[in-house]
Symmetry: none
Subunit: 187 residues, 4 copies
DNA sequence: TATGAATGAGGCTTCATTCAT
DNA sequence: AATGAATGAAGCCTCATTCAT
């Protein structure tokens, strides 16, 4: 399934580099090194291609996020793992986030795919927070409120770093991670 | 300039509701209740229209963000004002944020307009944080790290509320706001 | 009728300078220093304007061609006058010829206006040649053959001078004029 | 390249029959029996199409003009060949001349293409005249003056015949050709 | 399976013309 | 009489998609 991947990769790169406009099937084909008609052997049409790219990337991201995960880890270790994995993932492949956000802003897709993202790919994340609440370690707040204050800072910070083009050192990054961990603790 | 505004409004609504693809000059004109050609009396071309919409919205957002601002307020009062204004603004007119994020993802525009957004419209925000640092009230961290942990949670939370379609009560909202204020304090 | 002339002049200049494309009613109006709508007080529509410009110019050219004409002149004097007037006219206002040729190449106009040009404006020219033939001075050839060999060389030469951008001296010009006179003589 | 030729032909015909205004890409496509978009596989845009049509025709004309040419021929034989070829070419395919003149009147194109026409395609013509001068057979006049009096009469006469719609006999045509030959001779 | 020429719907934009002021 | 904002038809061009090879 070499070509299918080539197409998805080309689409990801072009989407991130050139935005929604200026990304034609011909350009995707050229970038993937195949003929325009060939795309239609692997994807029904452009919308399907975009939609499948979205699922592809979401799956990648979910995998990266939970890399090294083990039920043996303590809650804090799990958090630091999640936060750091996410932060690193954005910095290493900013295109992925760019594409996800782009697709989220396509109302048509957003409706259909948002469910997939949350339920299928990120169920473990919700589960992690629920456990923290249940164990009385985290504040007993709305789970989205907790995520906003903690996990999401990894994404927000990474995005800012890319957008503003500054280079923080390790210590600064860990300060944010640790602060976001502290803030959701009960005590 | 009644018609100019009608065009900008139509564009904003369509952009937010239908994304980049669902927006043609003809549709904008129809939505604005004018003829297609009339748009070109007010905007040189589509790119200019989009770009001016961006500036228009950025200005609106900046105004909303600082509504009620006064140098008499304490740092904490200022923060709560900023956080709440921002949170409310996103919830009241989610289209604005949707459009801003959309345009940020257009590589061409992003480069040109990002500067405008930060420097011109949000200088006071940076200034607020700098003062907090200088006065020894905030952690002496990278300013973007502080913003990520505090101000940005207003946006992240409001977005999540809209996307997940849940309705938090006032108390829950204030918990997040206050937590985000606490976390950047030195003591 | 100051404005009418301004419009005709603007049209002539623009037609000659920019060709068929890129000559809009708005541009004509701007060049003439009036509002776009005003043109329609003087000309029914664009086609009429162009058509009237054609007649206007043709009349000017006919006048120029016969300037100094007198029945007292000898046939040779008449010829030299006609030839020289025509040659000078083209060189002095190349736009006129450009416009005439342009309009001649508009098939629609050409059909309608060609008659006007020949019959009304240039009848005396045909008459001149007919007299030459009748008096046994010119070859008894098809009148258009005679004109081609003689009068038309004034136009062809002037055009060439403009197009190739060279500057002949008086003697050279007169050589052509005289040769074209000689060639149609019987003896 | 069957279709490319079909497009060029359709363009030539439409240009000659309907002038500049009556020619849209859609109409060209319909006339050529293809879809509108197909034109753009062969020509970058309308301007390029027109420009390439010009070169195409100029090449055709140059070939026709020198058909039967041989260095063995005497100067007079060469002249009669050139004159007759040109005269016949205009009468046989008046569209060619119409298109060439049209394009010459497009200021943009004219500048760029005039050089091509003269230098590349009609160098041999200039050369012919130069030889006549050098051999002391032709008057020692400006070369353009000689051409105006001789070669150009073939074009002028043919055009007149088409425009005025009369039918000269062979003898009349040869009279003009021979007169135009005589007039440039020294003796 | 892969190609890429061909299609034609649809988008952006221009511009002749109208009409309220 | 003059203006110029507004209109909308029409033109150029792009591009998703098809299909014969």
């Amino acid at each position: 399934m070499d070509k299918r991947d080539a197409i998805l990769n080309a689409t990801k790169t072009l989407l991130a580099e050139r935005g929604f406009y200026g990304i034609s099937m011909k350009l995707i084909a050229d970038t993937a090194g195949i003929a325009a008609g060939t795309i239609y052997r692997y994807f029904e049409n452009k919308e399907t291609l975009i939609s499948e790219l979205y699922r592809h990337i979401t799956r990648e991201v979910a995998q990266t996020t939970f890399k090294g995960w083990s039920d043996q880890l303590s809650l804090e270790e799990k958090y630091k793992l999640l936060w750091r994995n996410t932060f690193d993932a954005v910095r290493e492949d900013p295109q992925r986030l760019a594409v996800i956000e782009m697709l989220f802003l396509q109302p048509r897709l957003a409706r259909e795919e948002a469910a997939f993202c949350d339920n299928e790919a990120f169920y473990p994340l919700m589960d992690f927070y629920q456990q923290g609440i249940d164990q009385g370690v985290f504040h007993d707040w709305q789970i989205h409120a907790l995520i906003t204050l903690s996990f999401d800072t990894a994404i927000t910070l990474a995005k800012k770093i890319i957008r503003k083009r500054f280079t923080p050192d390790e210590m600064q990054i860990n300060q944010v991670r640790d602060a976001s961990w502290l803030i959701i603790q009960k005590s």
